[in-house]
């Protein structure tokens, strides 16, 4: 429940009835965290993140009339899962078009990225390091260690086995620690 006395489900019900103000309030409440998550998933691509957030909300509006306000699902969790799936799908499409192997480190020979990290601190350093991970490692690390999804959930989202997720998160986190160690 927010300070204005309306919870997310009530706002969604009003939005389902065509209330643009309620839709805007719900967006203001949920979009900033969703944007940060999606940007982190796709390595900082803001334009792609905005497309994904828009699509996630579009699916929410379509689901709004059937939303079970008394059910266990939270709107923020539902949006996060939809956005995660969209981000993984976007990566798959991009990988098909460019035919890059998943484990390729696209920034391994980019000294400017290291320089950026050295100057950065905290979450900025984390984001810079995450952006240097291979796409699937980054997605697995973000989903597991930032968002807290279980390995089976991540496997379903990423279309791979649980063992592959374990391997991706372990290698990703190790590499992340190395990259941040370089900074410190």
């Amino acid at each position: 429940m927010d300070e204005d006395g309306q919870d997310d489900a009530a706002l969604l019900a009003q939005a389902a009835g065509g209330d643009a103000r309620a839709a805007g309030v719900l967006f203001d409440r949920l979009a900033p965290r969703l944007m940060a998550f999606v940007q982190r998933m796709n390595g900082g691509n803001r334009a792609l993140a905005e497309d994904i957030v828009q699509e996630a909300f579009l699916r929410l509006w379509r689901k709004a009339p059937d939303w079970d306000a008394g059910g266990p699902a939270q709107i923020s969790t539902w949006l996060g899962r939809v956005a995660a799936n969209l981000a993984v799908d976007a990566h798959r499409r991009a990988a098909r078009e460019t035919a890059l192997p998943d484990d390729l480190d696209p920034a391994s020979d980019a000294p400017s990225a290291v320089a950026t990290m050295i100057q950065a601190e905290g979450l900025s350093a984390l984001d810079a390091a995450l952006a240097r991970l291979p796409d699937r490692q980054r997605q697995a690390v973000v989903l597991r260690h930032v968002e807290g999804y279980s390995n089976p959930d991540i496997a379903a989202m990423m279309g791979c086995g649980v063992e592959a997720v374990e391997s991706l998160t372990a290698r990703g986190k190790r590499r992340l620690a190395e990259l941040l160690k370089e900074v410190s």
Partner: protein, 99 residues
Amino acid sequence: MTEDPLDTLLARARDDTAQPSDALRARVVTDAVRVTAPVRRPFWRGLGGWIGLPGAALLGLWLGAAQPALVFEMMPGLASETALLDDVFGASFELALTE
């Protein structure tokens, strides 16, 4: 950096936010209004089958009663007006007419 500070950093990232643009907000709200707008249908669509079947039955009845010649012309196998009414109401109609 050891993994513990990394875990702390990753946990901090969970509550991180990024301000979406005004343009994105406008697009999302426009989507909401478009998707949730009630679909306007012509009023007769709502009547649907309720008007179709009873309407056809009443038209058939009126045709048989008011325009029997037309019915005989279209269905030459029917012998007479009485037979036509018998088909519709059974023998009781003929009985009622004679009383």
